[in-house]
């Protein structure tokens, strides 16, 4: 094991920034009271004030009013809350049809699958080779019973940015609610709900050097949503449970530390790495070259398998991820890789590299050199790709 690894799996989670930890610590040790009403004792009032400050920060970043943003335990909870909450609110009253895409992340995908078992019908929009939703298909899929459309801002594996503005416009036109999972893009890809016709937005802290276990849901004023996590009246009675104030402070601090300059730096590394990797024979970029997450690179190498690549890179001190079936918990190839091409081969040799704050420009050449060597080595023992 090498002393320090070069971590290129920031799309899975990130190292927390020390400044985030420093901002959170007092709320474990000093101002640890639960947020109370204004008639409570002073430590509780102080805690409440700081929670609301954190909420203001996150809401401002989204262009939302503070009372339109509820903290949750992360993006999985947020998406469950949005999809199941709308289904419970409108299923009997308006209809039982939901539209989403075939390449959503699991919180959305598995929430709608559960709803399907409970009598809802779901349309899974197919995407093109670059992972983009066809807006005409979306319009065609709309039915009088459609209550909700859920299309992600950015794809977790191949980085594709969806045209959510147009998706939202189509939904607005038909009076259908629109949810977007912005976990992987927020706040590096800016969004403003005053301009974007969206009703529900999932966000999370741990992908931007914030703490794990905190995220949130933007809920546009007036959106019908049945409370899903029953308990006390916290979070505007949208989610019960004592507020995770250190987490909320951590999330807000993490947002404040993300700057456009930093994101541009990640994008430079992204583009340099793509250029280097595509010099390797039989390498192919997954997802679009430009309209993609600023920190995401995903390349498939033919004739070799992802878990083997990953292990060899680990031995050389690099952390990456793959869409190969051999690596997945269900032994199925990545549904995203299958969704954009439908062939196992592309998933089998796919590698995702995701940059973060603690990467340095020299990491690009280091990982590109290492992967070139590993691919050559594995191709030498592969039965494919030879005469």
């Amino acid at each position: 094991m090498l002393e320090e690894i070069i971590y290129l799996d920031n799309g899975a989670t990130t190292r927390m920034d020390k400044r985030v930890l420093a901002a959170m610590t007092p709320f474990f040790l000093e101002t640890y009271a639960a947020a109370t009403s204004q008639f409570g004792y002073s430590m509780g009032i102080d805690a409440k004030d700081r929670l609301e400050e954190a909420r203001n920060t996150v809401a401002r970043e989204l262009g939302a009013a503070p009372e339109e943003f509820a903290f949750t335990s992360g993006s999985t909870e947020s998406s469950n809350m949005a999809l199941k909450g709308v289904a419970l609110a409108l299923g009997e009253r308006k209809g039982k049809h939901i539209i989403t895409t075939s390449i959503e992340d699991f919180p959305v995908l598995h929430s709608v699958r559960v709803l399907e078992k409970r009598g809802f019908s779901v349309t899974y929009l197919e995407v093109d080779e670059l992972g983009r939703v066809d807006l005409n298909r979306l319009s065609e899929a709309m039915e009088p019973e459609t209550i909700l459309v859920s299309v992600q801002m950015a794809n977790q594996e191949i980085g594709t940015l969806q045209n959510v503005a147009s998706v939202g416009a189509i939904c607005r036109e038909r009076g259908v609610l629109f949810h977007t999972d912005a976990s992987h893009s927020f706040p590096r890809v800016p969004m403003d709900v005053r301009e974007l016709p969206v009703d529900l937005v999932t966000v999370t802290a741990h992908l931007i050097h914030g703490p794990k276990g905190v995220g949130g849901l933007y809920v546009r004023k007036g959106t019908p949503l049945v409370k899903w996590m029953d308990g006390g009246f916290q979070e505007f009675n949208l989610r019960g449970g004592v507020e995770n104030i250190p987490g909320a402070i951590g999330f807000a601090t993490a947002i404040e530390l993300v700057t456009p300059e930093e994101t541009s730096g990640l994008q430079v590394m992204r583009d340099q790495l793509i250029e280097r990797l595509l010099q390797i024979p039989h390498a192919r970029l997954n997802g679009p070259p430009e309209l993609r997450l600023p920190h995401n690179v995903n390349v498939s190498f033919r004739f070799v398998e992802g878990e083997s690549i990953l292990l060899h890179l680990d031995m050389r001190g690099f952390a990456v991820s793959t869409g190969s079936a051999c690596f997945s918990r269900s032994l199925e190839a990545s549904h995203v890789m299958m969704g954009i091409g439908g062939d196992h081969e592309r998933a089998h040799g796919s590698v995702r590299f995701t940059f973060g704050r603690f990467n340095r420009p020299k990491d690009v050449d280091a990982v590109a050199d290492a992967i070139a060597e590993v691919i050559e080595r594995l191709r030498a023992i592969s039965p494919l790709g030879k005469q």
Binding site: M1, R113, F303, V304, E305, G306, E307, S308, L311, M315, S324, A325, C326, F327, R329, S330, L331, E332, A333, H344, E345, A347, H348, A380, I381, S382, P383, L384
Partner: protein, 221 residues
């Protein structure tokens, strides 16, 4: 930091033995798994009098467990007779490798299948094959013993996942005690199809799930 693989597995993964192709092999086979995408090729040189394997090599388009298993079986098969090589079981091999994570056993079975297929390829070419037998429930059951239950790394039959097998007019139906939305349902179905579909007199394979079954796989042996 403990890796899920033993030192022996990692050693064979890092430095696989007997890699590459043999020029003019006496037999070869490529086995692939559409379910996970792995492929293994095995090449043999066989002494025509003693039927002993004199040379053996492999190539792999697969994961660590696949590469390591293929590597170690080439070591084990060398010098063995065809019959001895065919009799190698994944249990012996897994033991030689210092164990494999349950979920990765199926990747290693593919390497063993490939060695068997190469031996059978030699037997076919040299007129050593006996008559083709018709597929029976027992034949299907034996094949299902090579499909792994990824929860425990033991086969489907042994872990009592196979509720019923019917064989009629080239149609094979396998009923499982597993619900269709189990984590491994898709994988297990594809593996079953892979093992049963190639039988010479089978033209349709269906796998039935049981929605009443718990979504956990039984762990009993």
């Amino acid at each position: 930091m403990p890796l899920p693989y033993s030192d022996i597995v990692m050693d064979h993964f890092r430095n696989p033995r007997n890699v590459g192709r043999i020029d003019n092999p006496d037999a070869k086979a490529i086995e692939g798994s559409p379910a996970c995408g792995d492929m293994v090729a095995v090449y043999l040189k066989v002494d025509p009098d003693s039927h002993r394997i004199t040379e053996v090599s492999f190539e792999s388009y697969g994961c660590a467990s696949n590469i390591a298993t293929a590597s170690i079986i080439t070591e084990m098969a060398k010098g063995k007779t065809l019959e001895e090589a065919k009799a190698l079981t994944w249990k012996q091999i897994s033991k030689m490798l210092g164990g494999l994570p349950a979920v990765k056993v199926h990747c290693s079975v593919l390497a063993i299948d490939s060695l068997r297929a190469a031996v059978e390829n030699y037997e076919e070419r040299h007129g050593l094959v006996k008559e083709r037998k018709p597929t029976t429930v027992e034949v299907v059951r034996r094949r299902l013993k090579r499909v792994m239950n990824p929860m425990v790394g033991l086969d489907l039959v042994r872990t009592r996942l196979v509720r019923d097998i019917t064989v009629a007019d080239g149609r094979v139906q396998v009923a499982l005690s597993l619900c269709s939305d189990h984590q491994f349902a898709v994988n297990i179905r594809e593996e079953i199809m892979e093992k049963i579909e190639p039988l010479w007199d089978v033209h349709e394979v269906t796998v039935q799930f049981d929605e009443r079954a718990l979504s956990e796989l039984p762990v009993v042996q």
